[in-house]
């Protein structure tokens, strides 16, 4: 097969996209040829997701060309993309949990007869065809909500295949899959290649890339770094293209003399996590790693008293923290920075100042009155020391960039006089690279000052570089405990998958 004569199915030229405060894509070009696996790589915040969303019609580029079969097309919505044969498998699951596997796969295009009556037999047999192709052993009639996350991911893939697309975009499709499922997926990818489907494969797992990719395009901080055939690359070269800087600049972790145990958890059990026992010392950063759906976020919720506690104890500085009450958890000295900043972190209706002091406002009160000047002074100190970029304290927080919003939420707890433990779930999700490094150095400094930090993260580099000790979770349980010195990406993955 002579690649040079193969015309690209899909081509993007000189794409620019700006968001308030972030230059998400700066002059990025990319093409996908029929029957090739094109890997798109870059760190979080490099612009991969934005680029995918432009391809899928979810976003509109500020400028640049979008060509299909060499002809400019006008793709303004996900429907336009689909009708042009472009299908996306997003990392987040987009399934209706209360519907069956078959209904999900043919969502919006159920086979119907007269009077829109659904042809159920046809639906189930068609579905079975795609399930067989993927080697997925579930009944088409099963409710999707009852499947494991990995199987849901495979259903998502089947859904995409059912559209018979010319280009499939896979956004980190393996993040929740076991090795067996991954090799199934790769078989499917190879079959698709033979059928002439173009595949854009987004991942930051190097091994996968070298196994299936034909060409690789690298983005960094929204910039187009380059496109290379896989033969011209090795791991070191690829990493240097992606990172473009030394890792130590990114992760400023310094060693800290850890003190006594601040928090001890014994047998903590909720509906989502089982029998969790661990401890944190003063000045220590403890990480929780694991695959998607392993129960990290659920553990954070359990510790903070959001989900109902069924069993177990949490002891903070010798005192037992009462169950099922976030506001008591706060009163005992626990702070929480949640994973979903927008839904659970910020108060979009309030200004930066009020967002910072909402948890500690009682500290500024004298005779029931908020001392406005004291409050402003403290917030100003925070804004300076965490370098929060905001035009004024009275700016609505919704107008800040993700990184600065995250700093505001962290600072919310730093103001608390008797804070002992900070739980931080996905500390750098949706934050650009520069702000990421800043968040890391803030966390490092806090640990230095004696705060105990519990950090949940899906990003292994972050866990490996920032944490003194690491617990790996699987199916709501802790499967192992690793010291900083003995942890590696491979070992974390091994315990996350095998348990």
């Amino acid at each position: 097969m002579n690649e040079s004569v193969l015309k690209p199915v899909l081509e993007l030229r000189n794409i620019h996209k700006r968001f308030p405060g972030v230059y998400a894509l700066n002059n990025v070009s990319l093409d996908i040829r029929p029957g090739e696996v094109h890997a798109l790589m870059g760190e979080n915040g490099a612009g991969k997701s934005t680029l995918i969303k432009i391809m899928s019609g979810a976003y509109l580029a500020d400028s640049g060309e979008y060509l299909i079969d060499g002809k400019p097309v006008n793709i303004k919505s996900p429907n336009d993309a689909l009708s042009n044969g472009i299908s996306v498998i997003y990392q987040e699951l987009n399934l209706a949990n209360n519907l069956s596997v078959a209904e999900n796969i043919f969502y919006g295009c159920l086979p119907v007869g007269r009077f829109d009556k659904v042809k159920w037999d046809k639906l189930y047999s068609e579905t079975q065809k795609y399930l067989d192709e993927l080697g997925l052993d579930v009944s088409p009639k099963m409710n999707v909500g009852y499947l494991s996350v990995a199987k849901q991911q495979m259903v998502e893939i089947a859904k995409s295949l059912s559209k018979e697309p010319r280009v499939i975009i896979m956004d980190e499709p393996t993040s929740a899959l076991s090795p067996k499922e991954i090799s199934n997926l790769f078989e499917v990818v190879k079959k698709l290649k033979q059928k002439g489907t173009g595949i854009l494969y987004v991942s930051h797992k190097l091994d996968e890339i070298f196994e299936i990719a034909d060409r690789v395009t690298v983005l960094r901080d929204g910039e187009y770094i380059g496109t290379e055939p896989i033969e011209n690359l090795n791991k070191e070269k690829l990493i240097s293209m992606m990172v473009g800087r030394k890792l130590s600049d990114m992760y400023p972790k310094t060693t800290v003399e850890t003190g006594d145990k601040v928090m001890e958890v014994e047998g903590l059990t909720t509906d989502y996590v089982k029998d969790i026992s661990f401890y944190v010392k003063k000045g220590e950063i403890v990480g929780f790693s694991g695959l998607m759906g392993s129960g990290r976020t659920e553990l954070a919720r359990a510790l903070f008293g959001i989900d109902e506690r069924l069993k177990g104890r949490i002891i903070l500085d010798g005192r037992e923290v009462p169950a099922n009450s976030p506001n008591k958890a706060v009163a005992y000295g626990i702070g929480m920075v949640p994973e979903n900043r927008k839904e659970e972190g910020i108060f979009a209706n309030m200004c930066v100042k009020k967002n910072v002091t909402i948890s500690t406002i009682k500290q500024f009160i004298k005779f029931g009155h908020i001392k406005g000047r004291d409050e402003e002074e403290k917030v100003n100190e925070m804004v300076k020391s965490l370098r929060i970029k905001t035009p004024s304290l009275n700016q609505l927080i919704a107008n800040l960039s993700g990184g600065n919003q995250q700093k505001v939420i962290v600072s919310r707890w730093l103001l608390k006089e008797d804070i002992k433990v900070l739980i931080i779930d996905e500390p750098t999700r949706g934050i650009d690279v520069g702000a990421k490094a800043e968040i890391y150095s803030i966390l490092d400094k806090l640990a230095h000052d004696g705060l105990a930090i519990i950090m949940m993260s899906s990003e292994m580099p972050e866990i490996l570089s920032m944490c003194d000790r690491i617990y790996v979770m699987k199916d709501g349980r802790i499967t192992s405990e690793l010291d900083r010195s003995e942890a590696s990406q491979e070992r974390l993955l091994y315990f996350a998958i095998e348990g």
Partner: protein, 330 residues
């Protein structure tokens, strides 16, 4: 100094209440032009006296709407409180006993509403729609639908009397407005109200006792609805079981008119009270211009929809402008 004044003015110009205040002024100007009686001291006091009953409950309703809930039972509470107050008075002849009994009743009703909304997780529209019907029913059953007459001077005086040149209900309303204005702006409870309504998930994760805040909000609106009902009964020398029919709509529409969002977290006291005034002035104007009372509801309904419609368009415009300015900055 000048700069400071100017920036203050700038903030005020962006203020959400400005269009409402302008509307109020224009409305008053028009009515002054068309009906000479409008702009007289007596008529102004009439308007304010009528407005104070709505304002007193409206202050509480604003709080409930700010925390993202609603209370439809205030009209029924208003009636039951008037009747209860009158009954206690006719038995004991003790004004303060009656007042205390009525306020306790309001707190109790608020707590019950809150119990079903917060602990029972019943949608507040449904829960208070139910309690609205129940409380009205209780009022009818206990009074056999008959009003209770009272001729105690101190009671009548409470509804119709004056402190200086000002009607007593107006003074009570102003005191409450100042008090709640202070609470919303300068106390932790005020901050929590906006936080809970703005994002109740985040509020929980910030360590705020969300349920407790909602409980207090409901008790406040309950006690204020009771106070309104009691004052209204005093004005009419009698507790009337049919009083306050549609009062909840009057109160809610005034608060929404004033720019509060039914989603919670957005709205100001100044806005809500301007809303109360506009609707009261409108009502008064329609009466003075001798427009058939059957038309009043139609006009009021149309004005409310139109005002909120305009307000939404204006906010959309502002958001777009803001985004544009920011993307140019970046």
């Amino acid at each position: 100094m000048f700069k400071k004044v100017k920036s203050k003015l700038g903030i005020y110009m962006q203020n959400e209440q400005l269009p409402l205040l302008l509307l109020l002024i224009v409305l008053c100007a028009l009515l002054t032009f068309f009906t000479p009686v409008f702009f007289t001291f007596d008529n102004m006091m009439n308007i304010l006296r009528a407005a104070s009953l709505v304002a007193i409950t409206g202050v509480g309703m604003l709080i409930v709407i700010l925390v993202g809930e609603i209370d439809l039972s205030v009209g029924s509470t208003y009636a039951l409180s008037g009747v209860t107050g009158a009954a206690v008075l006719s038995i004991t002849n003790n004004f303060f006993l009656a007042l205390v009994a009525v306020l306790l009743l309001g707190i109790l009703i608020g707590a019950l509403n809150a119990f079903f909304v917060v602990k029972g997780k019943v949608n507040s529209l449904i829960a208070t729609m139910g309690s609205m019907a129940i409380i009205r029913g209780v009022t009818m059953v206990t009074t056999q639908a008959r009003s209770i007459q009272v001729t105690l001077d101190s009671f009548v005086e409470f509804g119709t009397g004056y402190w200086g040149p000002f009607p007593k209900p107006l003074v009570i309303a102003i005191v409450l407005i100042v008090l709640v204005g202070y609470i919303l702006k300068h106390t932790s409870f005020g901050r929590y109200i906006y936080a809970v309504g703005g994002n109740s998930n985040a509020a929980k994760l910030a360590g705020i006792a969300v349920g407790r805040i909602k409980f207090i909000a409901y008790m406040i609106v309950g006690v204020l609805a009771s106070l309104s009902g009691f004052i209204s009964a005093a004005r009419m020398n009698s507790g009337q079981p049919t009083a306050g029919n549609g009062f909840e709509m009057e109160v809610i529409s005034a608060v929404i008119f004033g720019g509060a969002s039914l989603n919670g977290g957005r709205g100001t006291l100044l806005g809500a009270m301007t809303g109360v005034l506009i609707l009261s002035v409108l009502q008064n104007g329609l009466v003075l211009m001798q427009i058939d009372p059957f038309y009043h509801n139609i006009v009021r309904g149309a004005v409310i929809i139109f005002a909120v419609f305009i307000d939404e368009r204006r906010k959309e415009g502002l958001t777009k402008k803001l985004l544009k300015a920011k993307s140019q900055q970046a």
